[in-house]
Amino acid sequence: MIASKHILGTFDEALASLRNNVLMMAGLTERSLDRATRGLFERNDNLCLSAIADDEEIDQLEKQMDKDGVDILLRFQPVASDLRRVVSAMKLSSNLERVADQATSIARRARKLNQHPPLPEVDLIRPMHEQAISMFRDGMDAFVREDVDLGCAVVQRDEGLDELNATVNRKLVERMAQDPEQLRGYLNLIFVARALERVGDHATNMAEEAVYAAAAEDIRHQNLAARA
């Protein structure tokens, strides 16, 4: 990522520390999301509780990232690619924290669902889960590898996830009408689907930040298909 060392070694150390914190935060967030969704699919309350417990550490890391970022801006006044990396890392941490919040939300809904007999409609969530988690991983990869093409590809996949969410919502609403006894359960699944859709939105933001950090290009609020 960094072509050559700065004359000021402490600047390199500060940038490396910021980057390590992003990677650690991304790792924890991915683990939390994985535990929450497995807690749902495997009906495992312990996994759900672990996901909820992870959130506090991720919150602390977000605060640390902000502090480190401000410290770098203050002490080193970065410019060019250094400036873009610092700004993007700070924005990325905010998105990671929100993904972790969505993981917590999924874990809480899963715990409620686990108290009742299993609903076969949980399987409707699986394609959304796969899409959201792959967008999250690729968004993070795009940032780490400064891969503009991958970043743009992630952004374009968000629409597909939104459509999946709409389909899941429609089917679950139909099921609510057919089987009002399970209304609470279906409602919890709708909230899980919405949380996964939000994960996709944050992955999109992360991919956009990756493109900005790598190429100084602001691709937010653009029609990327037209751009290509």
Binding site: S4, I7, F11, Q77, A80, D82, L83, A216
Partner: protein, 282 residues
């Protein structure tokens, strides 16, 4: 008849952008150029200090020249008012146009050029034997101005423009050297302004000043650019980012990159620029 696109308050910004009635935020606004420098090369004896530099300097804007020591930035600055010619054994090639006029034409008097293109140096250099007031109007007197009323008017106007009037108006009879370093530098700027130049060149004007005096000079530069074209050399990257509209990066006598300051400091095109401004070589 000209095709006029009507704009209504109801139109969204996006609609207006599409109609072309609002420039997009990153649009480059075309500007007039005070200097047009073409293929400028300068030699000190056998050593080439500037190597085929071509650069247009925008009017009523601040252009900063940055680069490591010995890259030719001060020589380039001095070439804009022929001050480099004061160094023995200099030779130049190329053209420098000031508002369309060739500065190096045989018909042009270098002293007139230096009146049109004023200069402020790294270290403030008020005339040590002169009072504050006499320092400001020294250039006018040298040019034969004797009208006391005009001299007084120009004295006050220049000191006001240099943001120094309020601090020295009761001490005009005191020696220029009695002022603080920052005040002396503003006195030198007032002296440069008194002869009503078209351009002000500044060669590291704040490098010998404390942060407060530096801030005052930077604020002054910001105010002066409404009336003058300003070209400044600086080693302070943050200062270049703060005060300039355009930045030129020079290295070993060559112009490596030139563009809007925001672009140079967020997304430089050339790797050498990036490496220099991010502190990877110097």
């Amino acid at each position: 008849m000209e095709n006029v696109v009507m704009e209504t308050p109801e139109q969204t910004v996006m609609e207006r952008l599409e109609l072309g009635t609002v420039p997009p935020p990153d649009a480059e606004i075309p500007r007039a150029h005070t200097f047009e420098v073409k293929n400028l090369s300068i030699w000190y004896g056998e050593k080439r200090a500037i190597d085929s530099v071509t650069l247009d300097i925008a009017s009523n804007a601040v252009t900063a020249i940055i680069g490591p020591s010995g890259c030719g930035k001060s020589t380039f600055l001095r070439a804009l008012n022929r001050m480099h010619e004061l160094t023995p054994k200099t030779r130049m090639d190329g053209t420098v146009l000031l508002n369309g006029e060739d500065l190096y034409s045989s018909a042009v008097d270098p002293t007139i050029v230096r009146r049109r293109v004023g200069m402020v140096f790294q270290k403030s250099n008020p005339f040590p034997t002169m009072t504050i007031g006499d320092n400001v109007i020294a250039g006018l007197r040298l040019n034969g101005v004797r009208n006391r009323k005009l001299l007084n008017e120009r004295l006050e106007k220049s000191l006001r423009m240099a943001a120094l009037w309020d601090e020295v108006k009761d001490d005009l009879h005191k020696p220029g050297t009695s002022l603080s370093g920052g005040q002396q530098q503003r006195l030198c700027i007032a002296r440069a302004l008194a002869v009503e130049p078209e351009v002000i060149l500044m060669d590291e004007p704040c490098s010998a000043l404390d942060p407060i005096a530096t801030a005052k000079i930077e604020e002054l530069i910001h105010e002066l650019k409404g009336r003058y074209t300003i070209v400044t050399v600086t080693h302070n990257m943050q200062q270049a980012g703060r005060i300039s509209d355009y930045t030129a990066f020079m290295y070993i006598g060559r112009l490596i990159e030139f563009g809007p300051t925001t672009t140079i400091f967020t997304n430089p095109r050339e790797k050498q620029t990036e490496d220099y401004i991010t502190g990877r070589f110097g």
